[in-house]
Symmetry: C2
Subunit: 286 residues, 2 copies
């Protein structure tokens, strides 16, 4: 029952995003999702994304299908999670190079999304909240602090105002803070991420918050035809990066091909696979 | 059949938003929605919005309910539409003071939303597109030009880039242009509106585009309990207005109480009922 562990996560996550209990429940949810999905029929989807294959799981009675799963990234191996959890426990990620972390965390996240696709009707909120638990735990562990989701804004006239944000990780004085929007997909709503960064830059000064959104995937599946596309707006991203605010990184679990190229245009937007964060974070805050 | 007229709108709207044929089909859709809704049972909802009452229509078999309808604004009177259409035809809105226009256009928009609520399951796209037809027609008529939804952005290095936007009405040289986002409701997604305004200001210069979003309502209904609330974020709006960009007006069909007060804070955000536009537009562009 993936949802039992999901429901169990709310309280310990609220107390301390970094806690071993959160990690344990994330793992149990992953294990339960695999137990649910692995016996099911896999349907190969027609991929219109270059060099990527996608599959969907079909419910036993054939009435429901999950969202698209990247075949090359999906690794239904619970032992891999156990190894990673042990490495986190030991504070030593040796052997977990970026691609290996990306693949594992993609598998955990997409498994839960697929499980919810089969259990609930059109529920986007539950997968989004699980994604917050998962990525929030990993970032809080790596950065060593819990995030906040609102921040006081200085105002004239003795007013007290709070800006509501995605996760903000405050590393303390003389260090940058992280601004971490989390999305299972963005499409045209992505402009929100730049807008929040703009507010933070405007209120506190440019460079004090490193904007590093984490996004699961940009795939969209036509359920009737079984076709998968990626919805990408690279030209719009360039305009946002030049005219709204500067994001430091955009991390993807399933990196869209159209955004990889943004690393190579000038001025570049640094779009990277999620696992890179764990290896480059020290350089980012230096 | 409201959806027949809806489907018929796509082509004439695409050719000329201002055309009498668009106005005729909008009216026929309104009439068809009233024919569908008026025989149905009305359920009084529990309103948590001060000084506003809301109702919902129940489907004949009792299995479905529409979204919330503001009882005081809802005027199921097709003759009122005919009078307004005749006034538009004659280019003379005498007698149509702002509150009267707001009430009529609210009734047209919410009737269509309610009809779709009963015909389709969880369809937000069809009401949103109808709302674009309706408001797009009225603005194009009043401003005398058709809008565009993308605009060329000047770039170095001989690149050609287009920014995708909501409706942009170009009134010609030496006059401001209108930037018109249209939403049936915004909630936390409203930051997109300020972000797009920021891009326009950044690319073309502040003051050249007047940002005047038009929003239907901010109500949210708890279907099980039959309770209606308004989701408003006035403190966040003030931060966006001060730190992202300046919107010239925010027009509502069903104006949320919490936003009326933004007219009175300093610096003010001018939030007005929709009908005001038709009377103040000449002052806005002067």
């Amino acid at each position: 029952m993936p949802l039992t562990f999901y429901k169990g996560l709310r309280k310990p996550f609220g107390q301390d995003h970094r806690s071993p209990e959160v990690r344990r429940l994330l793992g149990e949810a992953f294990r339960a999702c695999l137990a649910l999905l692995l016996p099911l029929q896999r349907i190969e989807l027609v991929s219109f994304v270059p060099n990527k294959q996608y599959l969907a799981f079909a419910s036993e009675d054939g009435t429901k299908r999950t969202r698209a799963v990247n075949t090359a990234l999906f690794n239904p191996d619970f032992a891999e999670w156990e190894a990673f959890a042990a490495a986190m426990e030991a504070n030593e990620l040796h052997g977990f190079e970026p691609a290996r972390i990306t693949r594992l965390i993609y598998s955990v996240a997409i498994s839960f999304c697929c499980a919810v696709d089969l259990i609930h009707d059109r529920d986007n909120k539950t997968p989004a909240t699980f994604f917050e638990y998962l990525i929030g735990h990993l970032f809080a562990w790596r950065l060593g602090v819990n995030p906040q989701t609102s921040i006081q804004v200085l105002n004239l006239d003795n007013e007290e105002t709070h800006l509501t944000t995605d996760f903000i990780f405050d590393l303390g004085e003389q260090r940058p803070k992280f601004h971490l929007p989390l999305k299972t997909s963005t499409r045209e709503r992505v402009i929100q991420v730049w807008a929040h960064q703009r507010v933070l830059d405007g209120v506190f000064g440019t460079g004090r918050f490193l904007g590093t959104p984490v996004i699961l995937t940009e795939t969209k599946t036509d359920a009737k035809k079984g076709e998968v596309i990626e919805i990408c707006l690279p030209e719009q991203w360039r305009i946002y990066q030049m005219h709204i605010a500067q994001l430091k990184r955009v991390y993807y679990l399933d990196m869209p091909a159209a955004y990889i190229r943004l690393n190579e245009v000038f001025p570049p937007i640094h779009v990277k696979e999620f696992g890179e964060f764990f290896w480059e974070v020290d350089a980012l805050v230096a």
